[in-house]
């Protein structure tokens, strides 16, 4: 509890780190902040080209099916890959100044979270401009699922940023892990396809469902693509997995952070 209070006292530091990160990210590039929007759009074009032109998936309005899941996925994967680096990247601060170390993963996750929120502006523009439309009632659940995703990402970021300090190899392995994780989460395909494929293997299905990103991505898709109020048991799983991941990250980080200054 006292550590939470201390982090609260350092809220201005979190705020200024987030600001610095957001302002600094595209500094010196011609399109600047627009990259926040262009990047997911370009990815969307590539995936759409592959899955609705070359390898036809047969899913109606595949680009929307993909887009509503891809944006939250990009949040998660950057929390994993760039987040793992956040302690190393600020090692000058860590070695020389005291502040609650949790500030760094929190600031990192928050700035990628803000990026996702900005990308969601594009998502909504696309949904409305194409005439696909949105269900306002279902959209009320969107902030909830975003907050749950935020805590999962924070947990993951804390876990891997702390481990990376002690084991620098993780930096290189993580991009592969992120890719594998993307294929093992229903981003490019639907949950129903997995249920069908794994119907004969209930055990594998259970394992599958313990992937913390699965219920999150499914919920986004239910809200925005199927325009439904999300399935409550799915939301429940998301909350439980979110709490578990976040506590795990918090705990590991707390244990490892005492050695940061010496290890760096």
């Amino acid at each position: 509890m006292s550590s939470l209070k201390e982090i609260y006292n350092y809220r201005q530091m979190i705020f200024s780190l987030v600001k610095k990160e957001l302002r600094g990210r595209y500094k010196g590039s011609v399109l600047g902040f627009l990259w926040t929007f262009i990047n997911p759009l370009l990815q969307l074009i590539v995936y759409t080209l592959v899955f609705s032109v070359i390898m036809r998936s047969g899913i109606e309005k595949y680009y929307l099916f993909l887009f509503v899941a891809l944006v939250p996925w990009i949040f998660f994967s950057s929390a994993l890959t760039s987040g793992a680096n956040c302690i190393l990247a600020s090692q000058d601060l860590v070695k020389k100044i005291y502040f609650p170390r949790e500030v760094l993963p929190i600031a990192n996750t928050t700035s990628t979270f803000v990026n996702m929120l900005l990308s969601f502006v594009v998502v909504f523009v696309v949904l409305i401009v194409t005439g696909f439309g949105v269900n306002p009632v279902a959209c009320l659940f969107l902030p909830i699922i975003m907050i749950i995703e935020y805590f999962i990402c924070l947990g993951i970021c804390m876990l891997f940023s702390a481990l990376t300090v002690y084991l620098r190899d993780l930096q290189s392995i993580l991009s592969i892990i992120a890719m594998a994780w993307q294929f093992l989460t229903p981003v490019m395909y639907g949950q129903d396809m997995v249920e069908e494929a794994l119907s004969a293997h209930p055990f594998l299905m259970t394992v599958w469902n313990y992937n913390p990103t699965t219920p999150i991505i499914n919920a986004y898709r239910e809200i925005l693509y199927y325009k439904q109020i999300p399935d409550m048991s799915n939301m429940g799983t998301a909350v439980i997995l979110g709490v578990v991941v976040c506590l795990l990250g918090w705990f590991v980080f707390g244990k490892l952070q005492k050695g940061f200054a010496e290890e760096l």
């Binding site: 201005q12 530091m13 502040f99 005492k258």
Partner: protein, 420 residues
């Protein structure tokens, strides 16, 4: 914790693993078992002290004695292996100035970033902003990007932020070398104000007089243990005496090693063994120096002297070609090139030196009163009326002078002070 104390440190111990060749990657950890060999170096061997509220203490000691480690433990950058630290109140550290400064952002924006790292909220920073800018004397430049600042301006801004945090405990590591002399004075005055306002201060410094000016007590840390504690002046005197002692021993040992080396090399070396390795020699060598020595009052050969001691320089020559007359001149330079003394036989005695086939000339200094520092000796032998020099050796050897005296300058003039 006693209510009157701001800091209580009990039996603090800390060791570091010193890797011979550290591998951080998985491959290196797995394959090169050898690379992960390390030795454990005990930096702190049980340090305990208490600091009362509003008190200022100094931690002194030579490099690597553990004083900076102690300060890092106090700031919680690193954690002790055993022992406890209790502190009461908000802690601010002036260890790393300008942490998180972004070169492209303006001075004003950087004040916010930097102060945020010290744990201040936006409201608190807003309240202090004017004070910080005024103290830094950067009013005109505060909206320019920090990269356009000179290093002095940069440090002034950083110091102003750190000093205006208004902590209850202030930890300072060797940072009072900020900006020009005026600004340093201002920092000092500010520190005194802060102390008067009741802030507890811990200073780590090599500058003993800074500690004496601010601190009520001083701790001398040696090899991870507290060696002496108490009023700064007396602790520092004991410290300086011990430092001089150990440096003298070290220099003499080095000297002996060099001599040994020279003897081993023997003929391979052009320089005679009495010369240091930075010596330069030229001349016709019709007459040449066969030995040059510095001796103390009891005739021991020395290269290190205590200021005020009696010193004798001995110049021995050999004259195989039976040159009738010569003059011997010597000069002492401080290691920064300032000539501190020069004299020759003719000036000193008023006559010309009649040479024998072998002989010695001694120069006696009853009180060799130079201030602490390193001095270099040059020696020349030349014909009395001028002409080509017989033998000229520059940087014959170094003479190191020690002193506990804190007065500054080249020569320690004897002086007495009294109130009229």
């Amino acid at each position: 914790m006693k209510p009157e104390n701001a800091i209580e440190v009990r039996d603090l111990k800390k060791s570091f693993k010193v890797y011979f060749d550290k591998g951080n990657s998985l491959k290196e950890k797995a394959i090169h078992k050898k690379r992960n060999r390390y030795e454990i170096r005990e930096v702190l061997k049980g340090i305990s002290f208490e600091v009362k509220k509003g008190e200022a203490i100094g931690l002194i000691g030579h490099n690597g004695c553990g004083k900076s480690t102690t300060l890092k433990l106090l700031t919680k950058i690193i954690y002790p292996d055993s022992g406890s630290i209790d502190m009461c109140g908000r802690v601010s550290s002036l260890i790393e100035l300008g942490a998180g400064f972004h070169p492209d952002m303006s001075g004003r924006e950087n004040i916010y970033t930097n102060a945020a790292i010290f744990g201040l909220s936006k409201k608190e920073i807003d309240e202090r902003l004017d004070d910080i800018i005024r103290f830094s004397e950067l009013e005109e430049y505060i909206d320019n990007p920090v990269r356009t600042y000179s290093s002095g301006m940069y440090m002034r801004l950083a110091f102003s932020v750190a000093i205006n945090v208004n902590a209850e405990i202030l930890l300072i590591d060797e940072i009072l070398a900020v900006g020009d002399v005026n600004f340093q004075e201002k920092c000092f005055d500010k520190l005194k104000d802060i102390k008067r306002a009741g802030t507890t201060i811990v200073i780590v410094s090599h500058s003993l007089d800074q500690v004496e000016r601010i601190c009520d007590r001083s701790y001398w840390i040696d090899e991870g243990e507290i060696r002496a504690e108490g009023d700064p002046i007396s602790v520092h005197e004991a410290y300086l005496t011990a430092m001089n002692q150990s440096m003298q021993e070290r220099l003499e040992k080095e000297d002996a090693e060099v001599m040994e080396q020279h003897k081993k090399l023997g003929q391979a070396r052009l320089m005679p063994v009495f010369c240091s390795d930075i010596a330069e020699r030229k001349g016709t060598f019709d007459v040449e120096f066969s030995d040059i020595k510095a001796l103390n009052s009891i005739g021991e050969k020395k290269r290190t002297f205590h200021s005020g001691e009696a010193v004798r320089l001995r110049f021995a020559y050999k004259n195989p070609n039976h040159v009738p007359q010569a003059n011997i001149k010597f000069s002492l330079y401080r290691d920064d090139g300032i000539l501190v003394y020069e004299n020759n036989y003719e000036f000193a005695t008023g006559k010309v030196l009649d040479l024998k086939d072998e002989g010695e000339v001694n120069v006696e200094f009853p009180t060799f009163g130079y201030a602490k520092g390193t001095y270099l000796l040059n020696a020349v032998m030349y014909p009395p009326g001028g002409g080509e020099v017989f033998d000229e050796i520059n940087n014959v050897f170094k003479i190191t002078v020690f002193s506990e005296e804190r007065a500054m300058g080249v020569y320690l003039l004897e002086n007495h002070w009294e109130e009229a």
